[in-house]
């Protein structure tokens, strides 16, 4: 299952050169964000500049992995990335899990709200009882929790906070100053209030795996050099300028689709690849599991029942994270994000397909087995040439249906950073500052894929059934 290597965003590693992998949540301008430069998608920002300097000082090649913010720590601890530079604040809690560098930047926190509410929330006290949007697992979430009676809405992405504000689901958001400025510059209906949050200045530092003193030494060395001459501040200013420099001309849904069609095309390819591989391997594994399930050997039946019940009784997202992070951490087997995605989709669909096959095999008339056995064919021979071909044929519509289901469910692999359609939609959201339209485009594409596939399967089914009238 190892035909594919890691994902685009990372620059290719040379054989004999050291590679250092940085993890970041690239929806956080000006620190890290996606940007289309010369027609290709790149991750840029002040943190990326810092990462480049560190890599250069170490003589290593830099790889970047875009990972949701609250998955960064598990990614670091499981050894998938070497360091986190993602505007991360070294809290006590985090210090228990990872080691932090010297701080490289201090940010202040602001309150962002809708323009018409700008004068309503002029102090932290005025937020009492208000509903507040924050990014899940962020330092802002901690700050917002301390506000009396505040109702918190924690979401994955900055774009989701913007959407919540615009749709009135939350009244205000706690955000980093430069991040909020970037959003306000792109959304006329949003504003930053004059409220100041006491004791909210937060440091940013680089996280490494606990005990990785060597890397930490390199990092602190580079940071010390950057501090002379206030380089980091300049990075942030440059990145802010880069971010607001070439704004989206229009947030019209068709314009977005046309401008970012390459993102979506690439996403469609990954989604189809994942779904096809998931169904193919799921088919093979599911067939074996269903045969175990129908076996006369008690232990095989037990294995099959346990396998299907556990896989069907737990969320696929949990399975995905366990396979991607848990297995890497426990057994030191590192699957690429794509491999983890395919493995998860395969075993998950295999559990459902196994049940479909079981029904299909049991649905084959008993007389078929008796007739074949009466001719002297062995049990295995009968299963292979008589029972399974008929069972598979009878469950083909259900298998096709599973393919349609998996196209939709594969969207969860964006959680670990597989560049599928959902992932690309999120990237487009953070580039364009358009919170909703990129998602609508993704929805339309998912719909077209599943609709067309259903129709094709329906045609195929009718053609097959012609030779099968009874």
């Amino acid at each position: 299952m190892l035909f594919f290597t890691v994902i685009p965003l990372a620059s290719a590693a040379q054989d004999n050169q050291k590679v250092i992998t940085v993890g970041l949540s690239a929806d956080f301008p000006p620190y890290e964000f996606h940007k289309k430069i010369d027609g290709t998608d790149q991750i840029v920002g002040s943190d990326v500049e810092i990462a480049k300097r560190i890599a250069a000082d170490m003589g290593a090649t830099l790889q970047i992995q875009d990972i949701p913010f609250d998955s960064l720590l598990p990614a670091l601890n499981s050894g998938r990335i070497d360091m986190i530079i993602s505007g991360m604040t070294p809290t006590e809690e985090r210090r228990q899990n990872v080691d932090f560098s010297e701080s490289y930047y201090i940010s202040r926190q602001v309150i962002m709200t809708r323009v018409e509410d700008k004068d309503k929330y002029t102090s932290v006290d005025s937020l009492q009882g208000a509903s507040i949007g924050v990014q899940k697992g962020s330092i802002q979430e901690g700050i917002a929790k301390d506000i009396k009676d505040a109702k918190l809405t924690s979401v994955d992405r900055i774009a989701d906070i913007v959407l919540s504000l615009e749709s009135g689901r939350v009244d205000a958001a706690v955000m980093e100053g430069p991040v909020a400025e970037g959003q306000v510059a792109n959304h006329d209906d949003l504003a930053i209030t004059s409220a100041t949050i006491p004791d909210s200045d937060t440091e940013m530092a680089i996280a490494v795996k606990k005990g990785n003193a060597e890397l930490l030494g390199h990092i602190n060395g580079t940071l010390a050099k950057l501090k002379q001459g206030d380089q980091v501040k300049k990075f942030v200013q440059d990145a802010t300028a880069l971010n607001s420099g070439e704004q989206q001309k229009s947030n019209n849904i068709f314009t977005i689709f046309w401008d970012y069609r390459q993102y979506y095309m690439k996403g469609i390819q990954y989604t189809l690849l994942l779904s096809a591989a998931g169904v193919l391997f799921g088919f093979l594994i599911g067939l074996v599991v269903s045969l175990f399930r129908l076996s006369n050997v008690g232990i095989l039946r037990w294995i099959a029942v346990t396998y299907t019940e556990i896989l069907r009784g737990t969320p696929m997202l949990v399975q995905l994270l366990i396979i991607h992070y848990g297995i890497a951490q426990t057994f030191h087997i590192e699957f690429s994000v794509l491999e983890s995605g395919i493995i998860t989709l395969s075993i998950n669909s295999s559990a459902y397909l196994a049940e479909i096959f079981r029904a299909g095999i049991q649905g084959v008339d008993r007389g078929q087995m008796e007739a074949a056995r009466s001719l002297g064919m062995s049990h295995g021979m009968t299963m292979r040439s008589i029972i399974i071909p008929q069972a598979v044929k009878s469950v083909l519509p259900a298998i096709g249906n599973e393919f349609v289901v998996i196209i939709k469910e594969s969207s969860i692999v964006s959680f670990i950073g597989v560049a599928d359609l959902m992932f690309q939609a999120q990237a487009v959201r953070s580039i364009t500052y358009s919170a909703l339209n990129p998602l609508l485009i993704a929805a339309a594409i998912y719909f077209i894929m599943t609709f067309v596939l259903s129709k094709l399967l329906g045609m195929l089914e009718r053609r097959w059934s012609v030779s099968d009238k009874r």
Partner: protein
């Protein structure tokens, strides 16, 4: 050729065969008759171990096939069986239905298997159906193919389990005709049937079963003409 001693078969607490002793000779045509639930189909299905006997011994060509480690596939190669519901393989063509087992089990080379199959299709009068699928055939045609399929293994004995019971009345004749031809060629046959006229005509011996045992047996003229047991008399008075 087949020797059955003290054969018993229970399904759970229900004893279907209560002890059967019978010997079937080479070339003999034995017809088993009896009321529904008398155990005649179960008896037939025990002969090639489609049902595992609860007790008793079955010898086939002097081999004890009921012994524990016996490879039953070995005996089944030489025992053809025809079922009430045909059980043709719907995903295979007629020709493939006939050649599959010879090629897979007997390792006959495909050309040879096809030659035998075509001869058999000729015998049952369905050569033109070689490339069609079972679902395009009538019931009578299906059963003739099923007989040909069993014969393709060149068996030493043929077992028929109510071969005409699932057929429309107008199709019964064509199947019986094929069976009759087979009997005349000297094939050893054990036939479970409700066709009394046919039984009388082709049977060398009639076995009347009731309540899981053989009640009466003998040549057709004796069993049909002068049954000695009251249960035989009662049964025959209802069906004739």
């Amino acid at each position: 050729m087949i020797n059955v001693k003290g054969l018993k078969k229970s399904f759970g607490k229900n004893e279907v065969l209560t002890g059967i002793d019978v010997e079937i000779a080479q070339g003999e045509v034995v017809v088993v008759i009896g009321p529904s639930g008398s155990g005649k189909s179960t008896f037939l299905r025990c002969l090639n171990l489609l049902e595992q006997p609860t007790a008793g011994e079955i010898y086939f060509e002097d081999e004890l096939i009921t012994q524990r480690k016996y490879d039953i596939d070995n005996a089944r190669k030489k025992m053809g069986m025809v079922f009430q519901h045909f059980n043709l393989f719907p995903h295979k063509t007629i020709l493939q239905n006939l050649t599959l087992a010879p090629i897979k089990v007997k390792k006959t080379n495909p050309a040879e298997a096809e030659k035998i199959a075509m001869e058999l299709l000729h015998t049952v009068g369905l050569e033109d159906k070689r490339d069609t699928y079972p679902n395009q055939l009538s019931g009578g045609q299906k059963q003739r193919i099923a007989i040909a399929r069993a014969l393709a293994m060149q068996p030493h004995v043929m077992l028929f389990d109510e071969p005409t019971s699932a057929l429309d009345p107008e199709m019964v004749g064509e199947v019986l005709e094929v069976m009759q031809k087979l009997a005349h060629e000297g094939m050893t046959m054990v036939i479970v049937t409700h066709e009394m006229g046919f039984a009388r005509e082709v049977g060398d011996r009639i076995i009347f079963m009731d309540g899981g045992q053989i009640v009466e047996q003998g040549p057709p003229e004796q069993v049909f003409g002068a049954p000695t047991h009251p249960r035989t008399q009662d049964f025959l008075s209802k069906v004739l």
